[in-house]
Structures are given as C-alpha cells and as structure tokens.
Amino acid sequence: MDIKDILFDLSALDSIGYLHFAADYAEKVLSRFAKTERLGGSVTGTIKGNSDYTIMLDAHIDQVGMIVTDVDSEGFLTVAPSGGIDIRALPSREVTVHGRKNIPAVFCSTPPHLSSGETVYDDINKIKLDTGLGKNAADIVSPGDYVTFSALPVSLSGDLVSGRSFDDRAGVACLLKTAEMLSGKDLPCNVVFLFSDAEELGMRGAVTAAFSTAPDEAVAVDVSFGNGIGIPPEECGKLKGGAMIGFAPTLDSAVSKKLTKIAEDNGIKYQTEVMGGRTGTNADVIGVSGSGVKTCTVSIPLRNMHTEVETLSISDLESVCNLLYGYILSGGVRND
C-alpha cells in the first residue's frame, strides 16, 4: 500500500459525530491484516502474537468540524464548533453541510463598506453560513447536521502534502501501513490497532475503547506542531525530522527510551518531544485506563493544525511506520 494514497483517501472522507465514512474505510483496509471489531464510532483490529501480552497502537479517526445550531428563513445557518476551530479564517470559506444531502455553503464575510476598524472574532454565532438556498434551506438542513471543510488534499513540492483532517488521518494511515508490515510476521505479543472516535471532543472514544481492550502497553500516534511561520523552533518538531518520540511525566519513560533505542538501532529518523505534563493526546486517558497502561506518544510534525491546509511530510509517516514496526517486533518493554 502507498501511504500517501491511503492518507489522501482518508482525508477525503468524513468521520465526525454520526458520520463514519473514514472509519468504514479504515476498517475495510485493516480487516485485510487484522480481526476487526466496531466499538461505536471506533474501530479495533487484533493481530495475535505468541504471548498474552498486548500492545495497543492508537490513532483517532475523528476530525474537527462544526455542527448546525440554527437555520434561518433566508437560508443562513448558525454553527457551533465541534473541536477547536480558528474562527478568524471562516469568513468566505467554502464548507460542506451534511444535511439530507451534502450541499456546499460559504461563511459570510462582511463587505468593506460595512466594516469599520479592526474586526474582533470572538463569537462564531456572528459568522453565519450561507447555503444560497433561501427559505428552501430548511428542507435540507436541520440543527444537529455536521459541517466539514471541503478542500481536497494536494501535493506540495518535495514530499510535503497538505489537506484537511490529516489530524489524525495521518496517524490512521501510519497504523494501516504498520498493520500491513506486521501481517504474517511471527509476533512476540498481540497487537491491537485502535482507531478511536471523538478525540477532538475530549478523547471520549479512547476512554471506552482502551477499557474494552485492556492492553498492557499503548502508543498514541497523533500529530504535533511542526516548524513553520510564527512558531519558535524550540517549541515544535521539524518536518522531515522524523517520528517525534514523547517524553512526559504522564508517559512511561521505559517505553519512551525503548522507542528511542529502536530508532537509533535501526537508523530510523526521530526527534524528541518533551511535554511538561499532559500530552493533549489520547495517551492522557489511555494511560489511566483500567488498572493502568504503560503509554507513550509517537507524533507526526504538522503545520497549520485544525485547518484544511494541514501540512506534513510523507517521510515522517514512513519513519513512524518503521518505528512502530520495530517496536512491536521487539515485544515492547515486557522483558526489559
């Protein structure tokens, strides 16, 4: 499988709220390599190994978006964020409204003759969404319908790609590729792949799925801030710098060190991501699931997070796959 193709396919599909198109796709691909199961909006897949020790690899399947809260008589919608949205960039942006059918819509922008001074973007309720359908909008759209960004992914120069929902379809793509690499191999432990729902709304999918699967160890694979404009280099990862291995008080330092050793021993590009407390990823909730899980993060550096131009390097995805592959073959920290 070509990991870029998987990422682009996943980016074009929606998984938010009751929409599960990306999850359906991921389950179908994963089922070629693992025994899959659905847990609500989440997907799990298991490859059995030669022991009862289980390592879970997690990536969240959901995406940021918006949800319709009101439909007015002129066809304008009010929306609320579903996950963290930069509302300053909404005016004049085209999105897709998932009503009785999918329709395009454009966020209103105030024309210059009506704006005086600097606009303050403090309330998404003030930025209405134009369906262009006038009073007919109510026939198609209802409160509770989801709204998603609509840009399709594109290739930039080098091996950079840009698109929506790479947070965390990039992680999902890495896990699918890793599943393919591990498929048919003699494994020292069980591997559970988890594509968890509702991370953007407080890691809810990982809470229940981690409890259900009760692994011994887990690695949460998510995106993290990559170098770019307006970010101090010491506060972010570097695109093309390799997999970001997490070190944090909330993470298991033996797993962090083992991941680092695997990367060193196998010539896999990596960088270290140190966090002072919680990680802001599913690792935070997986670690304290049940009677506790030894948990670490492996992150993909990404620019423009939570926009439809999330940008990353394919080479970093390959580093992540190689690292996870090596880690599973090592059997984790069980015998260390």
């Binding site: 909404l90 005016p91 454009v106 262009g132 120069s157 950079l160």
Partner: protein, 335 residues
C-alpha cells in the same frame, strides 16, 4: 453564456498577468468579430451588426482578478507576497493557492498556540506566507520566480439557483460580453476586455482612448451585502433582484438618462443603493472629452474572495439589460 462563465472562472488571471483569460476570449471571438490587442494587453473588438449605430458604443468588461504577487522568499523557503487588489486577510488565511502550476498553502500559527487576544484578531497580511514545500530559498526559486502571481483555489459550484466560484468579478462581465459578441448583433458596437482594473482601472483608460466612444456600458460584478445580520439599508443590492445599476460610486457620477432608461427598461434590475466601490466607468467616463456611461453589475456576495456567490438569473438579466441598452443607445431610442 453559463458555459463561458464556468470556463472563465476556472482560469487564473491576476492583474497584469491576464494571458490565460485573453487567450480564451480570443479563441471564442476570432472569426466572429474584428479584434486586436494593445500594448497593455487589452483586447479591442469591433462587432459588425446588421445596422449602423447612431452612436459609437463601447462595452467593457475586465479580464483581471484579485490575487497575490510573490515578492520575496525567506531563507527557509517560504514565499512572501503582496495582495493584488483588495483582499481581506480572513479570506487568505489557511487557503490552498496556486502559483502557476505549483501548489501552495497560506500558512499561519495554529489556534492552539495563540494567546486569548491573538485568537480574536486577524494577523496583518504581511505576516502571512505561502508554503510550497520548499526547504530553502534556492529550492523555492527553482519552482517560482519573484513577480509570479498566485490565486486562491476554488471550484465552480452550484448552490441552488446560485453559483459559487472565484473571480465572478469580472468573469461574469466577460461571459456576458462574449455572448454579445459571439451572437448576431442588431447594431455595430465596440468592446474592450480590459486588463488591470483591480489595480486602478488602468487597462480601461487606454482602451477607451483607443476606441474613442460616445457612450459606454460597463459590465461588472458588485458587492452584495444581503447577508445575515445586515439590515436592508446597508445591503447595497440583493441577489435575485436583477443586476444593479449605479447612479454614483466612488469613481463615477453616472449618466442620469442612461441610469433611468435602465431602471425603466422593464427588465428586472435594481439601483445600487450605496455610493461604494468603483469600476472601469471611472476611467471610461473621463476618457478624451467625456463618455456617457452606464454600469450594469451582477450582485455578488463575498466579492474579492475565493467564494464569490451570485445568482444565475441575475446574470441572465444583466445580459438582457445590456442588450436592451445596446439597442437603445445604438438605435437612438435611449436618448
């Protein structure tokens, strides 16, 4: 006409780099009218009609659109740009752009890393950069050159009886004018597809000088503020109420008789109810000894963004009104 519009909106022609639109238009009018291009890149057209005209009429639409010009490249390969024409920063942030065939994105600081107040205010447009994936200045300059134009990417889409596309300002005017030229005309008329409107009505100035007309019709798109939370007095014009006809804007005081004749034509149209904006009329009505000018504008929401929204019926009515004014001015019934 709708096919013209769809195809024209897909072309990229930021001011001063109108070649793609110019080539398209020439391919459509060649053989149907006499044409030549001038030193600025305007297309100047003479359309022979069935009858001679009592007045020399020029009909203008501009080919250029707003966008960006690449002004420098940082050491780590990000492109700095200036806006060409007026574009709101909100419309630029985190958008896909194209520089020729090169894909790029306008990058910025993710919302997670901004402090409370920073989250509520737009950055200055000169703090935004385009990321094309290059890692160094040298690498970037292999793909783009300083002075290259960039546009925001946007597909033509239907939204009920409306359309959404980039550059409806002024591909709507170009599409209508193409339709007038490629179909039979009752009267002789002159036409200009002009360059550089968005940077100060520059193409129209030389086009009008060359054509030396008695009267002019300017086909445009104009801002419509008929959106949520804007009261009726501030809406300028309303989608679905027909083309807007101007009495005055920031560049022109329009010919009173032509303005009245348009409103009384019986074709669905509306006065542009604000003294705001401006168009090529500003250059044309002051050309040589003065030109009697009327502007017929397609109402357009979110103008100068990648998501202009206009009403299909308004565009058809703009064409009908243009034909009516053409016949009236050239035939002598509109005095």
């Amino acid at each position: 006409m709708t096919d013209f519009l769809k195809e024209l909106c897909a072309l990229n022609a930021v001011s001063g780099d109108e070649k793609a639109v110019r080539d398209y238009i020439i391919s459509k009018i060649d053989g149907k009218a006499d044409w030549h291009t001038d030193n600025l890149g305007n297309i100047l057209v003479f359309k022979k009609g069935k009858k001679r005209s009592v007045k020399k009429l020029l009909i203008d639409a501009h080919m250029d659109e707003v966008g960006f010009i690449i002004s420098s490249v940082t050491a780590d390969g990000f492109l700095k740009f200036q806006t060409v024409g007026g574009i709101n920063t909100a419309a630029i942030m985190f958008r896909q752009v194209k520089i020729g065939n090169v894909n790029g994105v306008v990058c910025g600081t993710p919302i997670h890393l901004l402090s409370g107040d920073e989250k509520k205010k737009l950055p200055k447009s000169d703090s935004l950069y385009i990321d094309i994936g290059a890692e160094s200045r040298e690498e970037a300059l292999k793909l783009v050159s300083l002075g290259d134009r960039a546009v925001m990417c946007s597909e033509y889409r239907e939204m009920g009886n409306k359309i959404k596309a980039k550059a409806i300002d002024d591909r709507a005017g170009c599409a209508i004018l193409l339709s007038l030229i490629t179909n039979d005309s009752d009267y002789d008329f002159y036409a200009s597809f002009s360059v550089q409107e968005e940077v100060g009505l520059r193409g129209a100035k030389t086009a009008a000088f060359a054509a030396d007309p008695d009267a002019a019709i300017v086909l445009e798109a104009t801002t419509a503020a008929d959106i949520a939370d804007v009261d009726e007095t501030h809406r300028v014009c309303v989608l679905g109420n027909g083309p807007a006809v101007s009495f005055m804007d920031r560049a022109t005081v329009y010919d009173r008789e032509y303005y009245r004749a348009a409103l009384e034509s019986g074709i669905k149209c509306q006065p542009k109810s604000a003294v705001a904006g401006g168009n090529n009329s500003g250059a044309i009505h002051l050309s040589r000894g003065g030109v009697r000018t009327v502007a017929i504008s397609v109402p357009c929401r979110y103008i100068h963004s990648s998501s202009c929204v206009a009403d299909k019926e308004d565009i058809k009515n703009a064409e009908r009104l243009a034909k009516y004014m053409l016949a009236g001015i050239c035939g002598g019934t509109v005095k």
